[in-house]
Symmetry: D2
Subunit: 288 residues, 4 copies
């Protein structure tokens, strides 16, 4: 059962070495933090160590600021940790980018409304206005940025300004049918989550269901991943597939695919929002 | 429940047109064939019709030879059918090709022994002798054809001669780690079944588990397909996947993969042996 | 690709006998119906035949009324068929019953709005008013029927009257946490679709996720089924599962379960709305 | 990658309390044990802690016997741990019990021969002699114990004596169609692994595929579990399912089921053999 109290979440990655779990958990315990989650992973092939630890801050003997300084001085520098800390009362400020397909947007907004997704969603951005109605029904401001080859640079600059103004740190591409420029992506490293409608690396690029249908595969898939400069090549967070046969037409592929897309996207977003994802190079550790 | 009586199996593919089911099933019925299975498929996108019909021959008013001639004259020519007929008492004469990994071989031989796979297996061919013992345990002759760049052409010719001598019509590549030449493949069109240890078209070629591990996918797969001149590009018969996470090492990928490989290979072989697979262009219809 | 023209859909079940496919498809063809779908199934264990055939009515030489009479006289009586006919322009008039959980309701309404679910939804009925807002956002009238032990009989009578008044023929229980009386169910035989949050027949009854958690299963499931007088015992339309482990808490079971519930319910509703489900005794044939 | 060096594996369960990971890992580290695996699990609902830690013994400053005493005195008593220790060079001595179906037996023996399953298999016991041939092919002694209502008590006593004589600690019921008495089971608590051919708790007892077919489920499953006095009620280790439809006959259920059975049984046996399973009350923690 998730804690209903305020918690701190520490994510660590570093070269594997003995004693990290012990040092970190002792540090938290010694300052009266009540650990409610601890998981670690060793990638012995790459020689890397990953850890996620979460504790209730109620009785912690350190303020948030004191923690930063003390943990850094007493633990992180010695052990050469890459680390980040999050707090359960500071949830990702998230923009959803959409085009015309509503299924992922409805799914995300429904999960947000029920409290399943711990996010703030200050705005929705569309490159078409088809889904403005949906945004309005949920009371979320909608901004239209139509993109052409000519105006793309300017429009993206305006989008970035708007996002910064709203303190957005996370972007969800909910079937957003427009490629973001490298410049845009670099403003949000490992903070943009896309859903690609294939089992990557199969069928990257355009029209993956058409590609899958032509190839005659017996399973179709979807992949949620962080966006990097290389299209459809970013670190994978979640994937799933469903079985198809010769009986399924292309329109059946697309229909079943919508179910995959929304489920797999939301799994990626949920893990991200719970601070359960660590990226190293081009792979993820997704803690449970 | 499958019929225990002798049956005939007719496989048809042709441009879609009305009346085929009716014409074919009436023809069989009029000659006192008791239809025990009938399934058809229309690929409306490609404008193609596929059909599989099976009937008990016990009371059929036509001999096998008479059927060939009469069906051709009265039905097939008019409707411009591509068709093939099989009989339940003439099962595929099958050679299994192996290298060093035993799991698919044991799986196939165990299924064969239990009667699940209706095949005759007159011989096993290896490019190593590692699995000669396994062949001997099941009383099946084993032939060693070591392949080098220099002797490949000659060895394949000798293999083809041996296979023809044994009236082999079907070849199973049970983790056979050697690429067959185009010439070899052309002797057995849509009769060579391979297992590739990835979810094709992802990770074609060498070391797919290594590729999958490096890419950080969250599912790994296996694919059984007919072999064509294009490596790992032939018509797919069966595919399956299992879930992996950062917790699985490369050796776990390989271990789980072995389970996928043997199950997916045997599904492909079973469908082929039951005459349930129709190939058109590069796709399959696999009747249930 | 589904036909965009008006179609008729004929569903047939009867004792297995030769010649049905031929007789039915010839009848349709002879009256200039263009068949766009035909599938049949033989349950040889039970000796039963099932068939679904769909044709474009554009050039049909018979009016809808003439079809009823002619087909009955020329085909159905002779072959002793149980049959029903539907038309693509008369979609199920559907009421959705809800309590407090919104995920299935949002999912259904989103699919309805996009045109994926061909339904008319004249009203939503709740035994709580929690989801009245959701209904309003989609512009669908919401009716509150609070149920107590004392008023249940009267409230159900009022519901039935309301449903009849709106010509409702199909009811979806979208996580409706109230057992319908036998009397209510008998008004809508095989027309009420429920989602049960377990892999039936495991964990029937109350709190299936709690039961699953206590039992320590490694997969959890959901089942959509037609409602009969026996609780959780009706004919199953669709089922699915996802993997869990000791790492998942009960709240994770419930969270993952919501995804299963909405997907599996919508699959059942989709098949029903496309007239793809035939019920015989307590089992379904679900055509693809 | 698993270590190829000799390792020790410590399994711990106890009431949850802070500091266990730290105390145990420090103890091992302080005695020069190189930890190659550490995973823990907290069941916060039940207030229980579980841990598995594995280290190379090469440079350990303690002999096996010294470890037992020192760990007990310095760690286990204080923290009130339930614990067991295993060594990679002392693999489970395993008896396989069979009746007539060969698929699970072949699968286990094939995995054993390849080194995937780290087991010693001193004997196979059958209540029929159908599979004596298979045992002989793999060079494993086969013992026949025919069981009747009259002789069951005596035969089981003889079996127990034989098993003790061979120092057997683990028993695999590989489709063994005979219920073991409570007395027999009590000699091997949480050491007997059974495969049940359904998705438990659905379809416990006899003929689960028949039950599943009659109920009209859309998925069939298999479950490997430890045997307890309550039939089909023991702690579940692994489960899996595959999709079926109305198209699959009962014989298809049985055929697909065989694949499930052998895969799910071997997963349970593998986890057991790797000392990855902890049982508490009627549930398992299966470490990855």
């Amino acid at each position: 059962m998730p804690s209903s109290k305020r918690t701190a979440i520490l994510l660590i990655s570093c070269p594997d070495q003995p004693g990290i779990v012990s040092a970190v958990s002792s540090f938290i315990g010694n300052h009266n933090g009540n650990i409610v989650y601890l998981d670690q992973h060793v990638d012995s092939r790459a020689g890397l160590f990953f850890m996620r630890v979460e504790w209730e801050t109620e009785n912690l003997a350190l303020s948030d600021d004191e923690f930063l300084e003390t943990f850094n001085n007493e633990i992180a520098e010695d052990l050469k940790l890459n680390w980040q800390i999050h707090y359960s009362d500071r949830v990702p400020r998230t923009a959803i980018f959409v085009t015309k397909d509503a299924h992922c947007l409805y799914d995300l907004l429904s999960r947000h409304e029920s409290g399943e997704l711990k996010l703030e969603i200050p705005l929705i951005i569309g490159n078409h206005n088809s889904l403005e109605d949906v945004a309005q029904r949920f009371g979320i401001p909608f901004f239209l940025f139509q993109i052409t080859k000519e105006n793309k640079k300017d429009q993206e600059e305006a989008e970035i300004a708007l996002l910064k103004e709203h303190n957005v740190d996370t972007i969800i591409l909910a079937r957003y049918m427009q490629i973001l420029s490298d410049n845009f992506v670099q403003h949000f490293p490992n903070q943009i989550i896309n859903i690609h409608h294939s089992f990557l690396p199969a069928f990257a690029g355009a029209k993956p269901y058409h590609q899958a249908y032509e190839r005659g595969v017996k399973l179709i898939g979807a992949t949620s991943h962080y966006v990097t400069a290389d299209l459809d090549e970013g670190p994978i967070i979640a994937q799933d597939v469903i079985r198809v046969s010769h009986r399924e037409s292309l329109s059946d592929f697309i229909r079943h695919g919508r179910d995959l897309e929304k489920i797999v996207l939301s799994r990626g977003v949920w893990a991200h929002s719970q601070r359960k994802v660590l990226v190293l190079q081009n792979k993820t550790v997704v803690f449970s």
